[in-house]
């Protein structure tokens, strides 16, 4: 960081800063994308841009654009790798619709983004022009063809000599171009230069001073280049929310921090995208709270290990994704049956089977709820924001212990890699698990001393004198003894189910976003919260009677749903999982397969809940939902006209 001492340069650039700021056009928000071939550091660039923006008090939401392969072929649409950052004055809750400004390292990756409707006519594209003069004629032709395509579509393309400029600083710009681009974006959006330089130093803190100063040089070069050559210059005022201390992180980091703040001492896992980075984070920091990450030989062993620790009084956590949940099913059922507290985080990805490992889906609701032999009640909660990724893990540990039950926290690929600031949690010692109770157990109290009113019972922990019992997944009675008689299994099942009702009795009705009555009620869960509410707000501004609720507790379900639903002409879920479209060929009211929450709600409330869902692998955008809302609203309003 020595080079920050080059004071003359700093002074003069500070003066330039001032000048630049004067000319900046104020905007409420922008959606920025950086797209490149995989391995060119676009994500690092975007994350840093996001973090600097958050530190400056802006609302931020980031979404990574990830190719499915680690090293997809260069310059191919399918290989597009990158990041979208939505920055604004207010809290940003979703990725938004089409991008405002894009920096592209080649033209081919832009084509795939265009095909995914990420851009609109007028989207500004800052494109590296190195391909125009490439030695290969094929590449030169591809480049000029693509430019024609972009012009036809209406993109505002600026060809810039990014590679050439970087070559002035480093011999191989494949490593480093991203920091040059960060410099460009920092000027374009009037980002705090000091913050950015500090952040770069953080990124490379494990590398040498030389690496840091080279990246600083690239950043400065990019900054200056944009100042002199890019005709865009914006200013985004800090949010009013930023008075409170904030933290900014990804959903998976939030899960990891939640584990630490809950006092759990062990995460037992097997690598699986998109869950693994939570364990990567813990591998770095878990020692700060005395914890340990166990990488097991497979998912079954991972949950078995966690169950062992939990049984011994140290409630543990296992973190996985859909295919891992499939393998853990038998163990989850054991934890339910034998009443072992356990936290399971399922960072959902695209299914079925190996599916779309890096993509977004909410496909595991029903498998986590019902995927087990017999009746295996468990608690299922779904985080809707990055902040909830943190808080729900701490909540899960408490629920697991109080209710002696496995608790599943559902997040998804959208939250896992998304970055958003939230209020810094004020952790205190009572957030932590109590020390393992090693006092004597009252001999007269059986192993499952089920309270008839609540189903709850105290648990003996190994080491407690007189508490010895044999935990078993076989049918057992109150004493914990294997029992094949006609009443014991019924009683055990009743008691385990009763805990769910007990928990449900403590929950609040979900809050309705918008009016409590109207034409259309949207029901959502998980990472779609911000997107749904933004679309609902747009519909309401246009005079439509649309509201939404967003469920956090899925098992047991939150109370009052039937009553809330009764105030609307139509209720529908919006989900990212599979459902038959109502008007698809061969689909009838009788054979239609519904989206997962819709199916549950139909059974639970006996209300004719409709649904709209997709499995494209992409996060939903407000625009997708607006179109669905307008369709449904048109039907309802059409019906109304007929009645009039």
């Amino acid at each position: 960081m020595n080079d920050q001492l080059i004071s003359v340069q700093e002074v003069s650039s500070a003066a330039e800063d001032l000048q630049a700021r004067d000319a900046a056009e104020p905007i409420p928000e922008h959606i920025v994308e950086i797209v490149s071939d995989s391995g060119e550091g676009a994500q690092k660039c975007g994350q840093t841009f996001g973090i600097v923006s958050a530190r400056m008090g802006n609302g931020v939401w980031t979404v990574e654009i990830i190719p499915a392969e680690i090293q997809p072929p260069a310059r191919t649409p399918d290989g597009a790798s990158g990041i979208r950052i939505r920055v604004g004055e207010d809290l940003m809750t979703n990725m938004g619709n089409e991008a405002n400004l894009v920096v592209a390292f080649n033209e081919q990756v832009l084509r795939s983004r265009l095909a995914s409707h990420a851009y609109k006519a007028g989207t500004i594209v800052l494109l590296d022009n190195m391909w125009a003069s490439d030695s290969s004629e094929d590449i030169r032709t591809q480049y000029s063809e693509a430019l024609n395509e972009f012009a036809e579509f209406g993109l505002e393309v600026y060809e810039l000599p990014i590679q050439t400029e970087c070559l002035k600083v480093v011999p191989d710009p494949r490593k480093g171009k991203n920091m040059f681009v960060l410099g460009m974006l920092s000027h374009i959006y009037s980002r705090d230069k000091e913050q950015a330089l500090n952040e770069i130093a953080n990124i490379f803190s494990r590398k040498s001073e030389k690496v840091i100063s080279t990246n600083h040089d690239l950043f400065r070069a990019g900054y200056l280049f944009a100042q002199q050559n890019v005709p865009y210059h914006y200013e985004i005022a800090p949010s009013k929310l930023a008075d409170k201390p904030m933290v900014v992180m990804s959903g998976n980091q939030a899960v990891g921090l939640g584990v630490m703040a809950s006092g759990m001492e062990m995460v037992s896992m097997y690598p699986i995208t998109p869950a693994t980075s939570a364990s990567h984070y813990l591998a770095d920091d878990f020692h700060l709270t005395g914890g340990f990450v166990h990488q097991a030989e497979d998912e079954i062993a991972a949950i078995g290990f966690a169950i062992g620790a939990s049984y011994a009084g140290k409630t543990a956590c296992t973190i996985t994704s859909g295919p891992g949940i499939a393998l853990k099913t038998e163990m989850i059922s054991l934890a339910s049956m034998a009443e072992i507290p356990l936290v399971i985080v399922d960072v959902q990805r695209g299914g079925p089977s190996t599916g779309l490992p890096t993509k977004v889906e909410q496909g595991d609701l029903l498998t986590t709820m019902f995927g087990a032999p017999g009746d295996s009640p468990k608690v299922i909660i779904a985080a809707a924001t990055i902040s909830e990724c943190f808080h729900f893990v701490t909540l899960a540990r408490r629920l697991a212990e109080s209710f002696r039950i496995p608790v599943i926290v559902l997040t998804d690929a959208n939250l896992a890699t998304g970055v958003q600031p939230f209020e810094r949690p004020d952790v205190t010692i009572d957030w932590f698990a109590a020390p393992v109770d090693q006092s004597d157990w009252d001999e007269n109290v059986p192993a499952y001393d089920w309270d008839e009113e609540t189903g709850l019972s105290a648990r003996a922990i190994p080491g407690m004198r007189n508490g010895g019992y044999v935990l078993t997944g076989l049918a057992h009675n109150r004493k914990g003894k294997i029992a094949y008689d006609t009443t014991s299994n019924q009683e055990g099942s009743d008691m385990r189910s009763l805990k769910m009702a007990t928990l449900a009795g403590t929950l609040n009705r979900p809050e309705v976003h918008g009016e409590a009555e109207g034409d259309l009620l949207i029901v959502g869960w998980g990472s779609t919260l911000g997107t749904i509410e933004e679309a609902v707000d747009v519909a309401r501004e246009n005079g439509h009677k649309v509201s939404s609720i967003h469920l956090r507790f899925l098992s047991p379900l939150e109370p009052g749903l039937r009553d809330i639903f009764s105030k609307f002409k139509k209720v529908m879920t919006i989900e990212i999982n599979y459902s038959d479209a109502a008007n698809a060929p061969r689909i009838t009211e009788e054979n239609r397969r519904y989206a997962q929450l819709a199916l549950l709600l139909r059974a639970h409330t006996l209300v004719d809940v409709d649904c709209w869902s997709v499995v494209s692998g992409h996060p939903l955008q407000p625009g997708n939902i607006s179109r669905v809302i307008m369709d449904r609203v048109a039907e309802i309003e059409g019906d109304k006209k007929c009645l009039d």
């Binding site: 973090i51 930023a242 904030m246 933290v247 900014v248 980091q253 921090l257 630490m260 006092g263 001492e265 062990m266 920091d285 020692h287 700060l288 709270t289 005395g290 914890g291 340990f292 166990h294 097991a296 030989e297 497979d298 079954i300 062993a301 991972a302 949950i303 078995g304 290990f305 966690a306 169950i307 062992g308 620790a309 939990s310 049984y311 011994a312 543990a316 038998e330 163990m331 054991l334 600031p421 810094r424 949690p425 952790v427 010692i429 932590f432 393992v436 190994p462 080491g463 407690m464 004198r465 007189n466 508490g467 010895g468 019992y469 044999v470 935990l471 078993t472 997944g473 076989l474 294997i482």
Partner: protein, 317 residues
């Protein structure tokens, strides 16, 4: 411990445990089942070592043999078929103070739980693993197990097992970081006791394959072996399993084998003509994963809180 202490003090509150203190309910294994003898030997080792019952955790999978925790005092975990080892390791990982016994069968350990078997051996956590190998699936009524001898008739292979049996000893000895491999027969109580005691006393994962009689489904196999002791090869060494006086006379074939000699152990294990009994291999220096997994246990709540805040600081804006 009962009695006078080395500093001449006598604490009247100290507890002394008898064999009964280690028993729970009456075993429900068939008459003549080898599991009964193994249980008796375990109880004797517990009494000999005066293990605090409340500090004992017996973990098992599913099978006749996996009923063992129900017959042991203290805490038990009768879990899922094949999954005893991950659970046992998980218990030990954050509760190194507990004394862990694992009871598993040949199907439980070598078939459905094979992945865990190999990896648990490599973790080498301080637990005692007893495989009750009757060469058959007992509980589910006579299906072929990985150790069922070739051509032995079972309900899934009525014309005889199709493949040569798996050799649990060579597999175990082939695992890196392995620290204790022994084999014993259930029908020699003094040697069985010594073997289980040595296994329990060993720091690290002690793997004992016990050839176990199942008179109900594998009568002929076991009779062959019991009637003709020339099928067995007694391993002895000053660092091996102590052979009680008189017991050695039962073995026509004997071999002095240094348990620190891995290549020799592999040779003995691979020789299918004789069934070795005794200690094949021991390495007291092998790394114990529980020493790594239990880091931070001594951390105070204040330190943890400071740790959470340090972690949060890195993300603060």
């Amino acid at each position: 411990m009962f009695g006078l202490k080395s500093d001449w003090s006598l604490n009247a509150n100290d507890r002394y445990f008898t064999l009964d203190d280690y028993a729970r309910s009456l075993p429900r294994w068939c008459t003549g089942c080898g599991d009964l003898g193994i249980l008796a030997a375990i109880h004797r080792v517990c009494r000999e070592n005066q293990i605090l019952p409340e500090n004992m955790v017996s973990v098992s999978g599913i099978g006749c043999s996996s009923r063992l925790p129900h017959y042991m005092n203290g805490y038990g975990f009768h879990g899922l078929h094949g999954r005893a080892l991950p659970v046992a390791c998980g218990v030990k990982s954050r509760r190194p103070d507990l004394d862990i016994w694992v009871a598993t069968g040949d199907g439980d350990c070598f078939s459905i739980g094979a992945a865990h078997w190999v990896h648990a051996l490599r973790y080498n956590m301080d637990i005692t693993v007893l495989v009750f190998d009757n060469g058959i699936y007992g509980l589910t009524k006579k299906q072929t197990s990985p150790t069922t001898p070739e051509e032995y008739l079972t309900n899934t292979h009525p014309t005889g097992a199709l493949l040569p049996p798996l050799n649990p000893l060579t597999v175990s000895l082939g695992v890196s970081n392995i620290s204790f491999v022994a084999q014993m027969v259930d029908w020699n109580p003094p040697l069985l006791y010594e073997t289980i005691k040595a296994a329990h006393d060993h720091k690290g994962t002690s793997f004992v394959r016990i050839i176990q009689r199942c008179p109900v489904y594998m009568e002929s196999l076991n009779l062959e072996m019991m009637d003709d002791p020339t099928n067995l090869l007694l391993l002895h060494h000053e660092n091996g399993i102590p052979v009680p006086e008189g017991v050695d006379r039962l073995f026509e074939n004997q071999l002095e084998h240094d348990p620190s000699n891995l290549p020799a152990a592999l040779g003995i294990a691979a020789d299918r003509s004789k069934m070795p009994v005794g200690l094949l291999y021991r390495n007291d220096e092998a790394l114990c994963y529980d020493e790594l997994s239990s880091v931070g246990l001594d951390m105070s709540y204040e330190e943890k809180l400071a740790g959470v805040n340090t972690a949060l600081d890195k993300f603060s804006v």
